[in-house]
């Protein structure tokens, strides 16, 4: 098997008995052994658990039981998804040593589809960041250039797939945390419609924005993973009451006649090469018979500001429970209040503290209306803008990230320029819509560029239809 084999091929081979899940796993573990020290995609490689799962898949095949559509596929999990008995850290000292007593719903569902979990991947602490430099356990480097970042916050999951440490992985996307690292690492990354994939067992950052999605080497794999993960979960009240998505049928569908939206007032500042790739993607779709239509999203430019009030506000509440009493880190002190303070001072990194303070302030009496309240209004305006745009267009294309992977350390002292990495991805989360990043050629220094396909609520089918076409026509040829 060659590097970057896709999940569908692996599952087919394992299901028909032509290859064993254990031998697939060995190949991936060998690649981890060879290169993980220079990438640092994982907080934990769950070697033994993976062997047990792979052996079970092989036993099922041998006994004539179908292990499922992800039979023997090595999958990495972002380390903010609960795994029973396996440490789940969110790349934070505050959760050090905590082993959840339960599995996240996505973990249960993928395991039920035959997946083999190879490990828990690194992230920006509590998913707060765009470079995976905010991890308490060290940076994840970009497999295309290890002097550069992998993006974030799901940098470990993106890098794991790009480096061939896993055939696929899961990330979470609150403001672009799947799509931006996917673009920077040259893999496919999907943020589905809010409520499509259960959040049960995903350690919350900003609950109204968080959504789990896959990283894969190609669009078909992403469709297969989403089909396995999605569908109503009674344990998540925000889960949409509908069956799992059905996406594979859209992949080979012609894009002729589709209306592709181009945002005429798109915020500027992107790399020229990134803008060039986006223009080429429009050209390619037009050449295939799609219509390019201009749409306006005037409130998009306020998205970043609104996001940096709403997400920290929710985070300030979600992270208040980490007090050293029941689990994770505890720094002993003279009395309970001092213990709380010492624990939180030692347990949280700077970016997390920054956002807790921002969010607490935004919700405070006397400031609520000016900050959080106003941000909610912007959120509504963005949804309204999208609603108008989707009357004219079936999907909208933007760059995923304005820039290619940047050098490690380049933005750590300038949070605002780091926040700007998410300018194209954030509005989607505010609206609850689906969006995905597809590799589309390269930019500066030969580094990967991603094009983002945006679609309205539950518009995953048409989104995958367009993404699959872009993948086929991407510069450098189809894989």
């Amino acid at each position: 098997m060659t590097e970057l084999s896709n999940a569908v091929d692996i599952a087919n081979a394992v299901r028909n008995g032509s290859v064993s899940a254990v031998s697939v796993l060995d190949e991936y573990l060998a690649r981890i052994d060879a290169r993980e020290s220079s990438i640092h995609a994982f907080n934990l490689v769950t070697r033994e658990q993976a062997r047990t799962m792979a052996a079970q898949v092989d036993a099922d095949v041998k006994a004539g039981r179908d292990p499922g559509p992800l039979a023997g596929v090595p999958i990495a999990l972002k380390d903010n998804m609960c795994t029973r008995g396996v440490p789940t850290t969110c790349s934070s000292r505050i959760l050090e040593g905590w082993k959840p007593p339960y599995d996240a719903t996505v973990v249960t569902r993928l395991a039920g589809a035959g997946a083999v979990f190879v490990g828990k991947t690194n992230l920006d602490e509590f998913a707060m960041g765009s470079s995976t430099e905010n991890s308490a356990f060290g940076v994840t480097y970009n497999p295309h250039d290890t002097s550069r970042v992998s993006g974030g916050s799901s940098g470990g999951s993106a890098a794991a797939v790009a480096a061939g440490f896993a055939a696929a992985s899961l990330g979470s996307d609150t403001g672009g945390s799947i799509r931006q690292p996917a673009a920077l690492c040259g893999v496919v990354g999907v943020k589905p419609t809010y409520g499509t994939v259960s959040r049960y067992g995903l350690v919350a950052f900003a609950s109204s924005l968080d959504q789990i999605g896959p990283f894969t080497v190609d669009v078909r794999d992403a469709a297969v993973l989403l089909e396995a993960m999605s569908g109503h979960d009674p344990l998540d009240s925000t889960s949409i009451p509908q069956p799992a998505l059905s996406l594979q049928g859209s992949l080979d569908r012609d894009v002729k006649g589709l209306r592709i939206g181009r945002i005429i007032d798109l915020p500027g500042g992107s790399d020229p090469e990134v803008e060039a790739r986006l223009a080429e993607s429009f050209d390619a779709l037009a050449a295939a018979g799609a219509t390019i239509v201009d749409v306006e999203l005037p409130s998009m430019k306020y998205g970043l500001t609104a996001y940096y009030l709403i997400a920290p506000a929710e985070a300030s509440s979600n992270l208040a429970r980490y007090d050293g009493v029941r689990y994770g880190l505890r720094v002993d002190a003279a009395d309970t209040n001092s213990m709380y303070m010492a624990t939180r001072a030692a347990g949280f990194g700077d970016e997390v503290k920054r956002r807790i303070m921002l969010g607490t302030y935004a919700l405070s009496a006397g400031y609520y209306d000016a900050y959080y309240g106003k941000a909610l209004k912007v959120r509504r305006l963005i949804s309204d803008d999208f609603a108008r745009a989707y009357q004219k267009a079936d999907v909208i294309l933007t760059p995923t990230s304005p820039i290619v992977a940047f050098p490690v350390g380049a933005k750590v002292d300038d949070p605002l320029s780091m926040y700007l990495c998410d300018v194209f991805t954030i509005p989607t989360n505010l609206a609850g819509h689906p969006a995905m990043s597809v590799p589309f050629g390269t930019g500066a220094h030969g580094l990967p560029v991603g094009v983002q396909v945006l679609a309205p609520t539950l518009g995953e089918s048409v989104m995958f239809q367009v993404a699959a076409h872009l993948e086929r026509v991407a510069p450098g040829g189809a894989k």
Partner: protein, 473 residues
């Protein structure tokens, strides 16, 4: 009114709902079990756990709203953020600007209506026990134990309008509310066990003056304490004002042992709860058919039951007998005794007097009590004999009153024999008779006593009185 001041009191009552499971998880909602045996990831607020609303809790909350004449509406949940060791998420899921039930009222037995501003759903906290130090407070304790069995138990907070004007009205309000909650099966509403908890907002003012500064009184654990605490607090505030001082807005703790309220926290140390819409839940919009079904299934409420019993017996609806019998749930029984042919007012008196230890379904068949009352009202048993016969019936869980009376040798005197006896006594006690005829009612006691003695207790007191009155003319 106390010393020329009006009291203005509003009560906030928290009740634990009698659901099988917690508000947002499948753990059991049960009081009194070993600590931390009814817990799960949601109850403990473990990272990644999410709340799922309990439909039964919503239904119970709707029952409460409808029984209190509220409008049930589409509503939302908010997070109320604050730190406390027994609140594992560091926020309480509650309702804020759009609660489930709004704008109702509760009618006191005397007919006065107390407004209900809202009745909303929220989750309870865990329970802390502070070991060492003084007074069971967290400050100065050596260590604390936390029981999360109560965390996540569904609560309804019933916020009354400040329409209560006396400590006694406050007691009536809580007593009536408790009866309603029990009647509709929403809560066992036991103040002693904490399944019903009451905070009182108290202020005073001169009649016609604007509202005074209020203080919130916490830790009131019985209806009696509620009356005492309000009375104490009102007098404390009046003394401050009369002494030229101002009442500070604060939360005060009622101390049962010294009978006073003490400062718990002032307005300045009040928490900023940073309420915001709970993103882990969706809005709750009970459909009209559901609301209608809950309304239709509501049992008769205590107020209606008292009115029904009052009109059947002629006793006042807010009189002791009707109040007591309805509270015991024995009003259906009294009506059954009446429909078996007995005088309803006698049935009410006997049940009120003799059935204190019986439940809503007394052991004596209604027909047996009815037969006994018929004997009594037809004059075949004196009231004294009636009590003896009833005691025997109750001891046996029923019985034929006629046979018991016969076995005991009770035979009421017939009217002519009684009249003869009355005449004899009048003749023998001419002095008393003269006084009685002159309008000295006290003199009747001596005459009746003598007649009863002569009849060896077989004469019916009422019949004797009636005879004496008719003979006086």
């Amino acid at each position: 009114m106390i010393d020329g001041y009006e009291l203005v009191v509003g009560l906030e009552v928290h009740v634990e709902l009698a659901t099988a499971t917690k508000l947002f998880s499948a753990s059991a909602n049960r009081f009194g079990d070993d600590p931390n045996t009814h817990i799960d990831p949601v109850t403990l607020g473990l990272p990644g756990a999410l709340p799922v609303l309990n439909r039964q809790a919503v239904e119970f909350a709707m029952r409460i709203g409808l029984a209190l004449n509220c409008t049930v509406q589409a509503c939302t949940f908010h997070r109320k953020n604050y730190f406390y060791p027994d609140m594992p998420k560091a926020y309480q899921i509650s309702q804020y600007d759009v609660p489930l039930n709004v704008d109702g009222w509760l009618e006191l037995p005397g007919g006065k209506r107390i407004g209900i501003e809202r009745a909303h759903l929220e989750e309870d906290t865990g329970k802390s026990t502070h070991i060492g130090g003084t007074g069971g407070r967290i400050h100065g304790s050596d260590y604390s134990l936390i029981d999360f069995n109560r965390a996540g138990v569904p609560l309804v907070e019933i916020v009354g309008r400040p329409d209560i004007a006396t400590p006694d009205e406050a007691k009536q309000y809580v007593t009536e509310l408790r009866q309603i909650l029990v009647a509709i099966g929403a809560s066992d509403a036991k103040m002693e066990e904490g399944s019903m908890r009451c905070d009182a907002n108290v202020s005073v003012r001169k009649p016609g003056a604007p509202l005074g500064t209020r203080c919130e009184i916490k830790n009131v654990n019985s209806v009696r304490s509620l009356g005492r605490a309000i009375e104490y607090e009102a007098r404390r505030q009046i003394a401050l004002i009369e002494g030229g001082e101002k009442v500070r807005q604060e939360t005060r703790h009622w101390d049962e042992t010294d009978g006073r309220t003490h400062t718990l926290r002032t307005k300045e140390d009040a928490d900023d709860y940073r309420y915001f819409l709970e993103p882990d839940l969706v809005p709750l919009a009970p459909e009209a058919v559901w609301i209608d079904a809950v309304r239709a299934a509501l049992p008769m409420l205590p107020r209606e039951r008292r009115a029904r019993l009052s009109s059947a017996t002629g006793a006042p609806a807010d009189g002791e007998a009707v109040m007591v019998v309805v509270e015991r749930g024995q009003d259906d029984y009294v009506l059954a005794v009446a429909s078996a042919g007995a005088d309803a007012s006698r049935a009410l008196v006997h049940v009120k007097e003799a059935y204190a230890e019986q439940g809503a379904v007394p052991s004596v068949p209604a027909a047996d009590l009815a037969r006994m009352i018929v004997l009594e009202t037809s004059g075949k048993l004196t009231s004294t004999q009636a009590k003896i016969v009833l005691a025997e019936i109750m001891a046996n869980g029923g019985g034929d009153a006629e046979k018991i009376a016969a076995a005991k040798g009770f035979e009421a005197m017939d009217t002519s024999a009684l009249e003869a006896m009355v005449d004899e006594v009048i003749a023998a006690q001419a002095d008393a008779w003269a006084k009685y005829c002159a309008g000295e009612e006290k003199a009747m006691g001596a005459l009746v006593g003598a007649i009863m003695k002569a009849s060896k207790g077989k004469a019916d007191g009422k019949a004797v009185t009636a005879l004496l009155q008719s003979k006086r003319g």
